[in-house]
């Protein structure tokens, strides 16, 4: 570029300079995300049609699509108990989400009004969420251990039989002559989920509660509403927005959750969920193509569920 053309060209306007700077600032972060998230995502789709074993990784030609087929998809649906796994995944995500939000709402309601030691109580309530998942899963499995866990020791002292909570698939409860079969290990991982993530819901609901106008509450009080009525007709409707967002976030994250179940039960005893099955395909079967296919299915199913949610259940902030 000569100095002649440079002087002829008009200097960039303020808006142009701003746009240029904007791109320059946003580019590095976008590049990292593009290369390490979006590209792998697309590549995953292509790999899901190829037969790739872990041992041939170094020699495999990823651009060779002459053998491309849907065999990986057929395999993951037929070999592993796909529909059972899907059912478990949905049950786990749904129950885990509902229970953690319910528990979080309960915690937020009781600590809404100031009392002595409230900030301390609040601090402790955040512990399950803040602590590393690896530590809390092992604490749970030790506490629930059949021979030297504290929970089973208490059960024995109370005259019950010890129970292997995390390795037993079904537990027959005898409720006044009614026999109810409880999926025991699955119930335990769902309870873990509720315990670990209630602080997240608690924080969100708490923030919303504190932002509610006091005038509505006072008006309801003047009208003689009871506390239950006030909650049902005044507070709850105003929480609808935050509850829908919470449900969405928690459901997505629980649906994709790998660590918690892998560390608690390893996917045994009726707790196999899709993310755990994906890693199994990679680690135990050394089958990359199938692992990729299963992860694509996971993403598609999640997208479909989200579509259903947005169409029929989602409510915007009131």
């Amino acid at each position: 570029m000569t100095s002649d053309t440079a002087t002829k060209r008009r200097p960039p306007t303020l808006a142009q300079r701003e746009a240029r700077l904007g791109w320059a600032l946003i580019l590095p972060a976008s590049l990292v995300v593009l290369v390490l998230v979006l590209f792998p995502l697309l590549w995953n789709i292509s790999m899901s049609f190829q037969r790739i074993r872990l041992i041939e990784l170094q020699t495999f030609n990823f651009l060779d699509f002459s053998d491309a087929s849907l065999k990986n998809y057929e395999r993951v649906i037929s070999v592993a108990d796909f529909w059972g796994t899907l059912r478990t995944t949905i049950l786990y995500a749904l129950m885990g989400t509902i229970l953690s939000i319910g528990l979080g709402m309960w915690a937020a309601l009781i600590s809404q009004k100031p009392f002595r030691g409230r900030s301390l109580v609040r601090g402790f309530m955040l512990f399950p969420y803040v602590a590393p998942v690896i530590a809390v899963t092992f604490v749970w499995s030790l506490m629930l251990n059949p021979t030297f866990g504290v929970i089973n020791e208490w059960l024995r002292n109370l005259g019950f039989q010890q129970v292997d909570f995390l390795n037993r698939e079904n537990f027959v409860l005898n409720l006044f002559g009614w026999e109810v079969t409880l999926p025991l290990a699955l119930t335990m991982v769902i309870l873990f989920e509720a315990w670990r993530y209630f602080p997240f819901a608690f924080l969100f609901i708490m923030a919303r509660l504190q932002a509610l106008p006091a005038s509505l509450d006072e008006a309801a009080m003047v009208d003689g509403a009871t506390m239950t009525q006030k909650f049902r007709y005044v507070t709850l409707p105003q929480l609808r927005g935050v509850l829908s967002v919470l449900f969405l976030l928690r459901f997505i994250w629980t649906f994709n959750k790998f660590d918690d179940i892998f560390l608690l039960t390893g996917g045994a005893a009726g707790t196999e969920v899709i993310p755990v099955a994906i890693v199994e395909f990679l680690r135990a079967r050394a089958d990359l193509g199938s692992a990729a296919a299963l992860s694509i299915l996971l993403a598609i199913i999640l997208a479909l569920l989200m579509l259903v949610y947005f169409k029929w259940f989602y409510t915007e902030e009131a």
Binding site: S30, Q58, F138, T147, V150
Partner: protein, 303 residues
């Protein structure tokens, strides 16, 4: 109820008695609930710390007692064994601590730096791409890590950085940029634009404004974001498991703790390892609780 000339009076007084019993009941429920929540959150913590000091024989003999004796606490035997290098018969946690700290700090530094730049552009500068890019990054934020784990495993194996801490750091940066960007953007938007305009009028460049006005004003938020990013990297397990299982020298703490979970290692050592990984994040969290809880609800931190 007596009927009087003043109609409203008996009505409200009846309501008030009704409410007071309800309030009493709720008062009892409330305190019972607080006790319940304290038990379910504090007990596992107490149990973890208590058992971590005990010799395993003691846990076998009496699983119900989880409080250690003074001798167990002062000898720190379990902790010594967990921290000691493997060639001296320990579990080598000192090395894992170092690896985790390295990975956490490197991830935090790079992520926060890149996220500040991008968040500032997204919050303050007007240009066509800002909306699009932030949207894409947000979608990525909701995306399952397992879906990109397989291709990243392949990619990193191919270019030879899978068995290194660099590979892990790069993945963690990509995983944490979206949340850091999102949290910082919403904070930068609350910084009064007038202050920045005053800086521009006084002859600062945009970068100058960012450095001398916006960043100092946003310092608490930046600290909170940095802490979050550090915690995510410190706790991360899936990628460490996939990338580093074969190379023990490179293990981060989560991987180290997970490998303690086998029949040859006493469960009390597993608890000591768990305490070692938990304490730094819990201490950091309590030190900065207020910033963090505000930041959390602003950004919706993944977990």
């Amino acid at each position: 109820m007596t009927t009087t000339a003043k109609k409203p009076l008996p009505r409200t007084s009846r309501k008030r008695t009704g409410r007071s019993t309800e309030e009493k009941v709720f008062g009892v429920i409330k305190w019972a609930s607080i006790v319940f929540f304290m038990i379910i959150t504090i007990f596992p913590l107490v149990y973890m710390i208590g058992v971590s000091f005990k010799p395993i024989s003691e846990l076998f003999r009496n699983p119900g007692s989880f409080l250690p004796s003074w001798n167990d606490v002062s000898s720190m035997e379990t902790y010594r064994e967990v921290l000691r290098p493997t060639d001296q018969g320990g579990q080598g946690f000192l090395l894992f601590l170092r690896n985790s700290a390295l990975v956490g700090l490197a991830t935090t530094a790079v992520t926060v730096f890149l996220a500040i730049l991008a968040a500032y552009a997204a919050a303050r500068l007007r240009f066509a791409g800002a909306k699009l890019v932030t949207w894409v990054i947000l979608i990525v934020y909701l995306f399952p890590a397992v879906v990109i784990a397989i291709p990243l495993f392949v990619l990193f194996s191919k270019i030879g950085i899978r068995n290194s801490l660099y590979g892990l750091i790069i993945v963690y940066i990509a995983q944490t940029i979206p949340v850091a960007l999102y949290m910082l953007r919403s904070y930068f938007q609350t910084v009064p634009a007038e202050l920045e305009e005053a800086g521009l009028v006084d002859g600062l460049s945009r970068i100058g404004v960012l450095r001398r006005i916006t960043i100092p004003l946003a310092a608490p938020a930046i600290a909170a974001v940095a802490l979050y990013v550090f915690m995510i990297a410190w706790n991360e397990f899936l990628f460490a498991l996939l990338f580093l299982t074969e190379s023990r020298d490179l293990w981060t703490l989560p991987l180290g703790v997970q490998q303690l979970d086998n029949t040859e290692v006493p469960k009390t050592l597993l608890m000591a390892g768990s305490v070692i990984i938990t304490m730094p994040v819990v201490v950091l969290f309590f030190l900065a609780e207020r910033f963090l809880t505000e930041g959390l609800t602003a950004g919706g931190v993944k977990g």
